[in-house]
């Protein structure tokens, strides 16, 4: 007597294997969807924008006429913005990370600071804009200047830099710290001369990625009232300015059809800017990262 019906077992197995194959294909196409979206996005922007990417585009200021519109003020403005955001956010971010990883005791205050940072990372950027508008633009009366925008952006990317720096500092093994103490170094000497040099590639990689987020962020700039059409370059930290995403937003919003192509060209400039920053980050990661 047969206890097992071989035919039905084989049939069931084949069914299960077929279902497995079908779902493998479904999951693969789900992955492909994202890649396809990315490909279409790049293709569209490059084909639309490349025609307007002329030398004059980099030399002209904003204009009412698509053919005369240029990106000079926005590009230089974004670079100015980075010169404020980079030092402020890196000093604050790395300082906080050193405190949390090397000095903080395990107590409620430390837990509170950690929880606060993770919540701050989830606050929408437009709300940071409202903070900047109230505190920096109005209360400290910095106006819609490079400095006010820079401070706002620094606070926005601060959580990202803190988390990246914490991870980089944590990756430095304790042996080297102990060796440093063994040689008679104090805690601060150990941090500055031993821990930070080993952690710096990780910190810089994280910081550059965070800065590239700040370059592309638009909403806080709109809320703090950064103007769009500006016919001069920033002269100082308290000068008015405009930035790449602001300029793109303005062009994309305009009704004339030709401005779409100008906007696409602006996006190309922004993407090249980001590409350069990201390549630097990858270069630093590959060149200087140490493995213990």
């Amino acid at each position: 007597m047969k206890y097992v019906n071989h035919e039905s077992v084989v049939k069931r197995m084949m069914n299960r294997l077929t279902i497995n194959k079908i779902f493998k294909a479904i999951f693969f196409f789900a992955t492909l969807f994202a890649l396809l979206a990315l490909a279409i996005l790049f293709y569209r922007i490059i084909t639309q924008g490349i025609g307007y990417l002329t030398p004059e585009f980099f030399q002209n200021f904003g204009s009412r006429f698509p053919a005369k519109a240029g990106i000079k003020a926005a590009l230089i403005g974004s670079i100015w913005l980075m010169f404020v955001v980079a030092p402020v956010s890196i000093i604050l971010g790395v300082g906080t990370a050193i405190y949390l990883e090397e000095y903080a005791k395990k107590n409620r205050l430390t837990d509170f600071i950690r929880m606060n940072i993770s919540n701050l990372a989830g606050v929408p950027s437009v709300v940071f804009g409202l903070l900047g508008l109230t505190i920096f633009v109005r209360a400290l009366s910095l106006g819609n200047s490079v400095l006010a925008a820079g401070f706002t952006m620094s606070l926005l990317i601060l959580p990202v830099i803190i988390v990246a720096s914490q991870e980089a500092i944590r990756a430095v093994p304790n042996d080297v710290r102990e060796a440093s103490y063994g040689m008679g170094a104090t805690k601060w000497q150990t941090v500055v001369k031993i821990v930070l040099p080993s952690a710096i590639p990780g910190i810089l990689t994280g910081a550059i990625l965070a800065l590239s987020r700040a370059v592309g962020e638009t909403a806080p700039l709109i809320v703090i009232g950064i103007p769009v059409i500006i016919q001069f370059l920033p002269t100082g930290l308290l000068s008015q300015f405009t930035a790449l995403p602001m300029q793109i937003y303005d062009w994309a919003k305009r009704p004339q059809h030709d401005f779409q192509f100008v906007a696409a060209a602006g996006i190309l400039v922004l993407m090249i800017f980001l590409l350069i920053m990201n390549s630097i980050a990858i270069f630093i990661r590959n060149k200087f990262s140490k493995r213990y």
Binding site: N20, F33, A37, Y99, Y103, P124, L158, T218, V223
Partner: protein, 315 residues
Amino acid sequence: MAQKQVSDQPSVQELIAKSSSKKQKQLIEKMIPYILLLIASISVLTTIGIVATLIVETIIFFKEIPVFEFLFGTEWYPFANKEPAFGILPLIAGTLKVTVIAVIVAVPFGIGSAIFLSEYASETTRRIIKPILEVLAGIPTIVYGFFALTFVTPLLQQFIPDLKIFNALSPGIVVGIMILPMIASLSEDAMSSVPNSIREGALAMGSTKLEVALKVVVPAALSGIIASVVLAISRAIGETMIVSLAGGSTPKFDWDVTGSIQTMTAYIVQVSSGDAGYGTTIYYSIYSVGFTLFLFTLVMNLIAHAISKKYREEY
């Protein structure tokens, strides 16, 4: 130079210099933790600043508009000359429409690609696809907004002739594409942290890869997957530029996704880019809308935090 110290002992001046520099060093050692704590407290001050700013200006707003009207009013006409209406429900409806569409797009595709990357893909495939997803996550939202307005909307109009230039559908889909990498990468992390021994156990019992994925790995990683979805929802609610460019500026309290809408974030942008005078009701209204938005995302983030903390399975 001519006079050389005969004895081995350092001169008195040297000793004094040495001890004073030591004192200085000790002082620095003692000061450093406090200076660093001061820097660390900036992040706390930022949170306090955000909450205080929003509350103070919202209270001023509520002096002019009753709380009840703001919370339950179904009309939002802040720019009307006669009898402007400040009921936030239309803005919330706009935000929800976009968020729901984004979730419908992002969750199946995001979790699908997470399962593919974690369970099916070879190491080489994963090493190629993961950085591409990171690129997708790093694209500025203004670029997505432009993409929604100039590509997705015209494309959808070919299938849905009634679709307006500004609508909820197109920005919803694009916000979904924007949050997809977040769900995919966080879920993939959760699935990858399920130990291989469990997978091998199930495979040894004769399971197919699909059965391992759906009956073993996904349940074990469920808390991480749900947390990733909740975080992504929070991101979708706070998304600003895509909805500002492609969503329009007519807040309506209904469930129509083909017509123009306005989200909470888009309203803040609309008022800020125009010139609403400082001190007007409209000026204060952006803070009350911002406060509502802040509470929405805060609740979402706290939920995500609680889920991943409470149901984390330790192996």
